[in-house]
């Protein structure tokens, strides 16, 4: 989605130049929150103030939002029929694969290090420890994220 936003903002409408887009993207991706909504809201405000921000946000999210509500309605109405039960039983293993796929696609950024093989192993071990803590205790994910930030600061330049 980010390359599509870049095309609109830089090539089609010339809201910003390439360098400025990359700078804005860098900020959006280092802050929390969905990157696409942050970018849409930012460009909306830059071009047309707070109302522009809201319009850009709705333009980005409303089409797929309405679609998923429609699909959800269909799902709620039919999920206990035999045919849909069979279909869902076939879809759920796909979901496992999609979730693993997201994790695997994200992993190179989590393992990125300036310290060579040792750095990669340290980071992989950290993933394993975090997984075990999350799986076998009731710690809220937000606490783990804060803990990760603290470890990241403490290990700065060392992994």
């Amino acid at each position: 989605m980010i390359p599509l936003i870049r095309t609109e903002a830089v090539d089609t409408y010339h809201w910003v130049d390439e360098d400025e887009f990359m700078e804005i993207y860098a900020v959006a991706s280092s802050l929390p929150g969905p990157i696409a909504t942050n970018l849409a809201g930012f460009f909306g405000r830059r071009m047309a103030g707070p109302l522009g921000s809201l319009v850009a946000l709705l333009g980005l999210t409303l089409p797929s939002g309405v679609a998923i509500v429609a699909l959800g309605g269909l799902y709620q109405a039919t999920k206990d029929t035999p045919l849909v039960r069979d279909a869902l039983a076939g879809i759920r293993p796909v979901v496992i694969a999609l979730l693993l796929g997201v994790a695997v696609t994200f992993a190179p950024r989590a393992l990125a290090t300036t310290k060579g093989t040792i750095g990669v192993w340290l980071r992989a071990a950290f993933i394993a420890v975090a997984f075990l803590v999350a799986a076998f205790t009731d710690v809220h994910p937000a606490i783990l994220i804060v803990a990760g930030a603290i470890v990241g600061l403490a290990m700065r330049g060392r992994w």
């Binding site: 969905p34 809201g41 999210t61 039960r85 279909a87 759920r92 979901v95 999609l98 992994w159």
Partner: protein, 186 residues
Amino acid sequence: MLGEVFALFVSFARVTLFGFGGGPSMIPLVRAEVVEGRGWLTPEVFLDAFAFGSALPGPIVTKLAFFIGHHVAGWPGAFAALLGASLPTLLLMLIVIGLLTRAKDNKALGAAIGGIRPIVVALLLLVAWDFAPAALRVGVGAGGLVSLLPWVVAAVSLVATLKFKLHPVVLIVAGAAVGMLFSMGS
């Protein structure tokens, strides 16, 4: 009703404020809020919503916000969840963008995010891990060769998504077809 609309806003605001690393990093946080925290959705309905969300284009978190918000409190709920998922970090971005682009030294922030990313991977793996027994129908159904079918579907889908970059919608439609063909739900 009004209480639930407000609760939706707060829940999704919490998700987005801790969601470092873009949309996918927020999937485990959404689950913690709406399945474990508030009990708005069963684990199965949450994962089904994620399946529909993956099949559609657009940002994943706002799609989940629409689905869950609408499920809990109709359209007001959907918009409350959407605004919760997007406004807090948007305001944060508008406030700090001047500071961050001027002060090029984001090293501390970069170091913190370097520690958060492994956590995100672990949390994503955990969502898959927790849901795997239900999705793979461990200990359910007829047994024999048919009980291997979910594992085959998962393995083939994993290869298809990682190696061949097939769009989720293709895999989900294929999964549904296989499920109906082999009556996987019974």
